[in-house]
Symmetry: C2
DNA sequence: GTCTATATTTTGATAGAC
DNA sequence: GTCTATCAAAATATAGAC
């Protein structure tokens, strides 16, 4: 959205540093990635890397913030909507998939955070906040009779977004449109795997 | 199943060492856990720990094997069954949940492996094998008309088991029966979240 | 089986020149 | 912005006594 303003000619800007770091964190693991590894990937030395960032944790912090911010922007947008909670829940799932696809590497990193440092604990706290929000929406949808009431709302929310989050394990942006994937996830989650009475517009086979 | 035969009186046996290591690997992360940490948790020194195991990687190797073996035992059991593929797929989901619950810490560790060492690559290869097997079952179930054919079988299998695997993020054995949870997962995955025509036996609200 | 060293490497991070 | 040099701490692992 915001145009990253060009910096002074040479070297790397923060975004490039962050991108390289996050890629390494995801492939090797955060702890297994050294600042030397990050510097090497950028073609600079460790000292130069420390000129750009204050430390390893700052890289993690910036990365998870991008993921969390995206998720909450989507949630805020959905909460502004009118209409049945069931539809809003569908929209939340849909936009979560889109955010995950758009910020794949950041969300991937976020989902692997375990809470051992303050940065990680903060990220976990915001994830729980999102969870609560989703659970509330499930409750409302159950109350209005849109989704089944024979499952605990917290359990339903966790399984639903567990399915969504599992996308980071295999989704690759180069194959298939995120919109189609989002639609598939919503369909599977809400209508289930089982064969249903075909109403007419479900004849398209999709690949991702 | 197999009675762990008692060792010579004193000290720790391999199972105790493995259990302590896996617990730490899951809470702090594999790379962030040092051999000193494992030794300390057992109340012994690093040297003594090295008397029990050949190194850190062996601990990881043994742990992921326990998870993978459990999953494949379940898969083999399901493949021996007769009847429609749709039912076998349901059984595979169900028993996967049960294995996950029974070997929670080992499966948790398995699902976090990224493939940076040979041990991890081997674990990933076996996971892919399981994936292929699940995808095949989805295909068969689609062919016999049991589950919807408007979704790519690989995508369906990944989303289905993505939902199952997400249980490691929140399931805790002390709360609720694994059997009830497995039933909930199957119901949600196959019949979906949406309210359906109530046929009579779906009045029970479950908690996990 | 358990310990006290100790070797060796790698880590995150800083100082200071250009 | 980038480098060389360096530090202090922590890591995996081994040697060898009891």
């Amino acid at each position: 959205m915001d145009t990253p303003r060009r910096r002074g000619r040479p070297g790397h800007d923060l975004d490039a540093v962050l991108a390289a770091a996050v890629r390494l964190f995801n492939t090797r693991g955060y702890d297994a990635t050294s600042m030397f590894d990050v510097a090497e990937a950028l073609g600079i030395t460790k000292s130069t890397l420390y000129h750009h960032v204050s430390g390893k944790e700052q890289l993690l912090s910036m990365a998870v913030d991008r993921a969390v911010d995206g998720l909450f922007e989507a949630a805020a947008h959905v909460q502004d909507l009118q209409g049945p909670a069931t539809v809003r829940l569908q929209k939340l799932v849909e936009s979560s998939v889109l955010v995950l696809a758009e910020r794949l590497e950041f969300v991937t990193l976020l989902l692997r955070v375990r809470g051992n440092t303050q940065v990680e604990q903060h990220a976990l706290a915001r994830r729980r906040e999102f969870d609560t929000l989703a659970t509330e929406l499930v409750k409302q949808a159950q109350a209005e009779g849109g989704i089944r009431a024979d499952v605990d709302p917290a359990t339903a929310a966790r399984l639903l977004f567990g399915m969504v989050n599992s996308l980071v394990e295999w989704y690759r942006p180069e194959r298939g449109h995120p919109e189609a994937l989002a639609a598939t996830v919503v369909r599977l989650a809400f209508d289930g795997l089982r064969t249903i009475a075909v109403t007419g517009d479900q004849a398209t086979q999709e690949e991702h």
